[in-house]
Symmetry: C2
Subunit: 458 residues, 2 copies
Amino acid sequence: MKKYLLLFLCCGSIVGANAQANRDSLVIRQVADEILANGKAYEDLRVLTKTIGGRLAGSPQMVKAEQWGAATLRAAGADTVYFQECMVPHWVRGEKEQAKIISNRRDFIPPLNILALGNSVGTGAKGVTAGVIEVKSFDELEAKKDQIKGKIVFYNYAFKSNFVKTFHSYGDAVKFRGSGASRAAKYGAVAVIVRSMSHSTDNNPHTGSVNYDTTQPKIPAVAIGLQDADRLSTRVANDPSAKVYIRTMCQKLPDTIGHNVIGEIRGAKYPDEFVTVGGHLDSWDVCEGAHDDGAGCVQSIEILRTFKKLGIQPQRTLRVVLFANEENGGRGGAKYAEIAKAKNEKHVFALESDAGGFTPRGFMLECTPEQRAKLVSFKPLLLPYGAYDFDEVGGGVDVGFLHRALGTPMGELSPDSQRYFDIHHAASDVFENVNRRELLLGAVNMAGLIYLVDQYGL
Amino acid sequence: MKKYLLLFLCCGSIVGANAQANRDSLVIRQVADEILANGKAYEDLRVLTKTIGGRLAGSPQMVKAEQWGAATLRAAGADTVYFQECMVPHWVRGEKEQAKIISNRRDFIPPLNILALGNSVGTGAKGVTAGVIEVKSFDELEAKKDQIKGKIVFYNYAFKSNFVKTFHSYGDAVKFRGSGASRAAKYGAVAVIVRSMSHSTDNNPHTGSVNYDTTQPKIPAVAIGLQDADRLSTRVANDPSAKVYIRTMCQKLPDTIGHNVIGEIRGAKYPDEFVTVGGHLDSWDVCEGAHDDGAGCVQSIEILRTFKKLGIQPQRTLRVVLFANEENGGRGGAKYAEIAKAKNEKHVFALESDAGGFTPRGFMLECTPEQRAKLVSFKPLLLPYGAYDFDEVGGGVDVGFLHRALGTPMGELSPDSQRYFDIHHAASDVFENVNRRELLLGAVNMAGLIYLVDQYGL
């Protein structure tokens, strides 16, 4: 290190810049060595997923996860750990959903594998039985609007296979889950079934939030697995007597108290400037929330642990935030931004990891062109660890609130997305589907970027 | 397309080059759409792994796999399909290996999970029982050379965690598997146990070939799982009475007949120039050989299928080669090069996929600087499909023979390597650990590179 210091003092700015890049590269190498050899993120994730499991806002598991988060941040060496209270929605799934095809034909028909969509109303104990209108687009819904009254609308839009980045497929298809119920209710539908947003090869249904349009009646909405969606489609096309029975006992209870869990390392030089890094602590109830978003939480904690372990003292205050209630409300992210604004805090950068714990490929960014140029200038230092793609515009849902409230530049880790929608919001989002090295390598790249932003600002 | 043609005719060479790049980009997009939506590689792999399974050279499964390869190439639309005979080694594992720690202490000790190394001699039915000398380097072996006579040498070198590209960890550690037996035999060891080349979190032993130095006695060599390696190490350090019993019934039979399986599309313009793409058809006996190297075989066949389906007529003859006996001999690759040389064939490029069916990151290349520059110039056309890393020097083992015999430029698909050594040469290399989209995306990048090399030569 002395050699570099000497060079820096003796020579002009170009050599100085090179020396600085060399020093940064050595620090990031040290960070990578520590995380890849001694990283705790994988073990932390095992505890979160296997001893707590699914942890939807308002559930007892949410409370346990908050306690886990605080304890884990303390163990990682945070200077301070605290809770930030916010009201969160409290939706409960209730009894396991039931669904089946009913037909005048005498053939055996296995039950349909469904999950109620988050925030959906239930059918009540009697369930709903009705004929099915299948549509593959909203245009087709409009064209069939006169047939819909009293029926179940089945949105059977196939997840597109030809986007290389699968989040584009999700962006393309998710409208049916989000607004399909209200658009069908407008024409008198009694329920909707939505083909899962996935190109998995299994039959797991994938849940996720429905967003009701308050001007329309709220009708039950469920997701269906891919194999069952194909089976239902064939049946509807060939059996005029076919009806579907759906029974969901989900309900919305009054809002309850949840918390963002926050751990900090106080900045040495600019303690009143903040660099935020986080994931969301809640997950859907039907899975372990390992990739979504246990991974983002443990990666963020790993950064703090590694900085402490290696004695890397940030200049700005580093805040690790485990956000409440991303999945069906976004209240944690909103509260964090609200308080930051009320306190007139200066936020330099906010990074989220909420796209799975898969092998990292880069970062999505949303900021000014100047800030982007600066962030992209760090690319050569991260390339050895797999981050090369800085082209996508975006940031995490949670830090998005801060971005909109304060204009804070934001980013999100971009892991490889090929496997993500196999497991997203489905029973298969479990610890076993996370690879230790991929998870840790994501943390390495995040730590590298956070270190550089802290050093140079934006 | 007409628009681009017009541009090309009207304007100068820069615009012409752009138009060509646009046309190429459209062709590769078409290739990607076809493979991602209709690709057969995953189903082909299911058949190979689930109906045939492990297929070591000389085994009955090798013969079945050759038949499968020919039938699958024909179904994919190859103009011609043929076999290229070569003699292959015939090593058989025999009865399941046994190993245990024997101690004067009365505590219960579970058996050790081991696999004989490929081409290893067996212990015979009585097995070998001896004290254990643990070493972590060849230097340590030399330092302990006087203690080794009559003992089992235990190479307990930990797979390094801090290489981001895990093949570097493999390159660093594999010497103990390759030459450890003969180096220990030199000092009178009776057997060797080698810590598996893996950073998996399970206890599967990972096999692979041992290379005996013919000037030394051949002694039995086995791989041990990671958890058991740690257990053995602790025992050896703390229990002076500890011995290990090993029984392996493997043996080398006389060489037998195997085949490279080859499918071609005849080149429209230069039928006597060849572009080779392939993987190796053999695999270790203890797994399904899904990633190693069923993936490379089905990806190579996928390219041929896609070109035929889309009517992409190569200018040069495209040869898909499913090589025989990569794992414990390399005889298929050697034979292919020998025949190519004897026939004085003109080989333009040879590409292999033998690093797993994981999400692609680029290509290793081994060729002249001019050829490399040309190959790297294709990068922008492949970047949208995930290939950005063209920096590593290398090519597949099989096409390496051609490279050395004829100087043919060669390459190898570089998939993400984080998961590879979890499953490499172990019982966990099964179909279930291959992701459909990752496998297909590898084929997309290979097809793109092959298309461009065929169009522009090197």
